[in-house]
Symmetry: C2
Subunit: 453 residues, 2 copies
């Protein structure tokens, strides 16, 4: 239509999309994560994008960040428009899901969920903050009680994921909420100030010491204590040193937390995670108040600027607002959109070992369509992704398209090849070309696909 009707095409700020090559790489990460989650016996669920607003705001949901739905025209009795809003995480929908389907689920309920969430945060691409992004969550939820072993298993799943992702050295850092609360007790922080102090401490890796100490003092701590507490939380130590420092705090809460941390650390080793991949670290604080036991964050050793790529923790009651059943659990979440964006910037993504664009059947001779289609059908029957070039174009243009789209092999045949029941199999990476007889086509293509990788 007319030039004057042009509409602004830019994406909404905080929303992202990829070109096909990047989408393929993103999808490969999702497949990898999903395969590892399933390897550990987690089953998939998906929940609707929109929930009742009161479900989302019941527990920890900051109203400020929630997108509600409305209708451009009159909504009538449309519940979604009148009462619905987009989920901001996958934990609240999980709580609602477990409460709603409690009788139909097998406990311990181990679920994974890989879906988009929406948050009205200020988008800052350079900090990897988006308004729409993927989360990849696992949770183990049981009725009444949950073994502490579940807290040790979670890092082993995450270890399996990031090891296969081959994104360099990483460390799953763990801490324990009891330890943190015990320390605050020892530093004389009154119960009512605990959430504020935790939120201030949670920023220790993003803000400078002066700012954190100032915030702690605003929560009522004396300058000396604020400094000591900040130093304790932000200091870099190995697991053994951290555990011995904690041994000096004698309150029962600290001692209980220390014992839990020691047990979880020992079990994590039994679950096969080497010491090089996890760390007991008092700097793991987590802002959310529903965590009660082990808490997790994960960082790339060589790229601390990327921040935590995966975090979560243990909670004592998942769905108290929705059901009377006590549902303790433990979970962790990979913020995949952010992780992907950072890995791409840091050039840490592995090249794909497989592309869906495998073979392009070029079509020099329009009269021979049926023969081209038969070759394609034979290859597809053997599981080889095959496209037939259907537009009228010179062979050079067809090969240029093949290269641009990332095909690995092109088939070339015209009258003379067909007369001899032959086809040329061209490896687009090495530019090698060999002739294959009709009946050995599949084999010849397979060997060309292998040669290249």
């Amino acid at each position: 239509m007319a030039r004057d009707k042009k509409i602004e095409l830019d994406l909404l700020r905080g929303f992202e999309e990829y070109l096909p090559q990047d989408q393929l790489q993103f999808n490969a990460l999702i497949d990898l994560i999903r395969r590892n989650f399933e390897l550990f016996g987690f089953l998939p669920i998906e929940t609707p994008s929109a929930e009742r607003r009161e479900v989302l705001t019941s527990k920890g949901g900051s109203e400020k960040e929630i997108y509600a739905l409305t209708r451009l025209a009159e909504a009538g009795d449309d519940e979604a428009a009148n009462k619905g809003a987009l989920r901001f995480d996958l934990t609240v929908p999980l709580a609602r899901y477990v409460a709603l389907h409690e009788r139909e689920l097998a406990f311990p309920f181990r679920r994974y969920q890989i879906q988009r969430v929406w948050r009205g945060e200020t988008p800052q691409a350079q900090k990897g903050r988006f308004r729409e992004f993927y989360q990849c969550d696992i949770d183990v939820v049981n009725r009444d009680q949950l073994s502490p072993l579940a807290e040790a298993e979670i890092p082993s799943v995450i270890y399996s994921v990031f090891r296969e992702m081959a994104i360099g050295e990483f460390r799953i850092r763990i801490n324990n909420r009891k330890v943190l609360k015990g320390l605050l007790q020892e530093f004389g922080v009154p119960e009512a100030k605990v959430p504020g102090v935790l939120r201030a401490l949670d920023k220790h890796d993003r803000e400078d010491a002066a700012k954190i100490r100032h915030d702690l003092e605003r929560e009522g701590m004396r300058p000396g204590s604020a400094g000591q507490l900040h130093e304790l939380v932000s200091g870099k130590r190995e697991t053994g040193d951290t555990l011995s420092i904690l041994g000096k705090f004698r309150s029962s809460l600290c001692q209980q937390g220390l014992k839990d941390l020691e047990n979880v650390a020992a079990a994590i080793r039994q679950f096969g995670v080497p010491d090089s991949a996890f760390l007991v670290d008092l700097g793991v604080v987590r802002g959310l108040d529903y965590y009660t036991g082990t808490i997790y964050e994960t960082t790339l050793t060589g790229h601390p600027e990327v921040g935590s790529i995966c975090s979560g923790g243990r909670y004592d009651d998942l769905a108290g607002y929705f059901t009377n059943t006590r549902l303790p659990g433990v979970g962790i979440s990979i913020g995949l959109t952010r992780l992907f964006s950072r890995l791409r910037e840091a050039k840490l993504l592995q090249p794909l070992d497989r592309t869906p664009a495998e073979v392009l059947v070029t079509t020099m001779d329009p009269q021979s369509l049926e023969k081209y289609l038969k070759m394609a059908a034979a290859l597809r029957g053997a599981g080889v992704n095959t496209e037939v070039y259907l537009e009228a174009a010179k062979i050079d243009k067809q090969l240029a398209y093949a290269n641009r789209k990332g095909f690995r092999v092109a088939l070339i045949a015209g009258e003379s090849e067909f007369a001899n029941n032959m086809v040329k199999v061209k490896n687009l990476a090495t530019r090698e070309e060999r002739a294959a007889r009709d009946h050995e086509l599949v084999q010849a293509v397979r060997s060309a696909l292998k040669n290249e990788s």
Copy 2:
């Protein structure tokens, strides 16, 4: 928390979620569709859930059905809340995507997209109408011109998908917009009335003849013509009969459309789709006005009540509102949420040949955790999905959990087994149990997994 705080848990009307067993089956369908799309050389893209409102309303988007975003609290300068709305299909986002990234894409651009869309329609579960649902789309878009062969290829992709889905006999029904417009000309329908008449005809398989004729008369047709046109469109005929009836209409538009239909039908056969799986059918009308050539619908032969499970068509200009480049294309869309719901009701879904819940390692002896974990690690290393039961529970309860969750094999070992370096491998379907030595564990489990299927 307290009983008095309970919140309503029901999903918003028109929104769905599944239990894990159903989710697995749904995911298997998505995997199958994706594999087939890739087999034909389509590349994946995803677009943001929200677009600028003016993008969505530019072309065919009925404002009435669009969900806009807003914020529960003050939105400030949040573009998404002030200007954003959820997509209602995947075609408008594709148009915006191609216009935005035109220079970075290889043409012909063949993309698939499997994502959720949202429509504020009146939800009617019994008719399979949802407010949030998955669409699985493929489109081929080229610059300036597009070969009619692309119109013949689309049915071959769909044939490949539904054949593998094994949901019984189906027919891809095709028609041509030129034929329809030519017929309306012959029946004296003025240009301005064409959209209204097409919309009336499009309902012929859902409404009775009297209602359709009444609607046609309201568009200005005489009763005699309305009856003849309705009979022509709704009559059940084989492809050959339909083509010969069309031969009698001599206007150039009808003749051109007939020639296109004949050519596409011949090419569809060359693409390997048997006559039993497609049909030239004047009853395919499609309400949308942007189609200009071949149009498609797909029905299950044994279950006409399910309605069209896949539809689309050829268009001459995808993105006229967004770019000056002429972008002709052809596409088709599977409404998967609706299809899944109908297949489930009609009990047409194939049982899964593979479940992620393969092996449960039961844990009779808490002291031997490390041994249980080693077995699990060995199995996972061999690609076998394996869960370790981590809660303290009697063996009967553990086996009940294994059955409930659908595990296929349970491993059972206690002190006496460990003393002999043995483990019991129990096939949960056949209830057979055999003892395996430590070093033959993987092999024994593999053979138990195979036996069952």
